[in-house]
Symmetry: C2
Subunit: 219 residues, 2 copies
Amino acid sequence: MSWKRDRPETPRGYHHGNLKEELVKAALGLIGEKGPNGFTFAEAARMAGVSPAAPYRHFRDRDELLADVAARGFQTFEAALSRAWDQGRPDPETAFHRLGRAYLAFAHDEPAYYSAMFEAGVPLDASPELRAAADRAFANLRQAAEALIARLPQGKRPPALMMALHIWAMSHGIAALFGRADGGRRPLPMSAAELLEAGMLIYLQGLGIGPETAAPQAG
Amino acid sequence: MSWKRDRPETPRGYHHGNLKEELVKAALGLIGEKGPNGFTFAEAARMAGVSPAAPYRHFRDRDELLADVAARGFQTFEAALSRAWDQGRPDPETAFHRLGRAYLAFAHDEPAYYSAMFEAGVPLDASPELRAAADRAFANLRQAAEALIARLPQGKRPPALMMALHIWAMSHGIAALFGRADGGRRPLPMSAAELLEAGMLIYLQGLGIGPETAAPQAG
DNA sequence: CAGCTCATGTTAACAGCGCTAACATGGCGC
DNA sequence: GCGCCATGTTAGCGCTGTTAACATGAGCTG
């Protein structure tokens, strides 16, 4: 039985006891190593020390495991964004920039999660938990947008949803194109974080939020 | 021989004559239908009416076909962007917005190409042609950035590369998150094109390029 | 504690995939 | 007309996802 671990770290009997968790961890590791396509149901089972058919007791198919990983990714993503935003303390601008850095930090530090969430082709409604976690993550961006908009005079307020979408799009665009651990698809003269920071400063300036007479060049 | 077409549209002998082209077309169709992961070397061969091993006479492996599709995608992408930019005529602002619409139009109208280019995980240096085509496509964005920057007074000019990266990031972010033919990952109250247009207007406003501050340009 | 149940594991099997080696065909240059 | 070799085919390897049939034993029930 070549699939058995040669020296089981945690000897077990017929039943594993914690297989679902271990499969998710194995999947996360494999996605991190070889990308969401290289990830294999069979290999995850092998890493967990069970037969190739065992995972089917916990996930309908490979896609459901992927969706589970993505959902967990959105949950920790949401936690990170929420912690960074910290309800806009001490002031919305400071908290907002912290939020942007947290976004990129997540993409950089958790490439496996980010991959499962945005590159594996998992549809957002693969499961209610996934959808809910993604919505909660996005809610942080929207909340930040609202707090910043509140500083504008009544007549000049853009729709908060639109602004949140812009923030998300630029963050995701930078993360996807330049922000991965491998340096991204193209070498850059500046870091992804700096790029996002500068882009967001310009965008906010365009809305009328920000240092009044600041030059567009960000430092 | 079940892989043979029941009624070959173009009857052929032992040799196909145009297999490489037909494989690329088949791959493009399959990627469009089932995404870059669903695409299969064997099925492309089936569609072309040849045996599953025939494609290996034209591509080292599956990844090389994918890279070829991506390279062709970047070539037609570059052509579309170049046509839209049209050397900045009649004026950079007009041409720039045309460029943005062309970007989204490509992502929307050629989902198979866009998928192969940005979602299939093909590394940009998979082939020199790929890298070159991608660079030429990006050069259009950079050229547009430079033309717009030239309208700013000397002291307030951001780096053109940075600006081009911001444009690319926002375009790609919107295309990836909301701009696909299936409506994207999330229903929106506005179209992707409108979202990008608004985002770019705000961004340009932040740089000091906008309706109000447009400097009369002697030309 | 005996016994039953059923969640969770295993084995065996199928079809399909990427890929390779060995062989077949026939278009084209000599 | 002949032979080379690009291009096709066949057969087969090991892998994958997935299912069906069977095995185990943890935990409830009496």
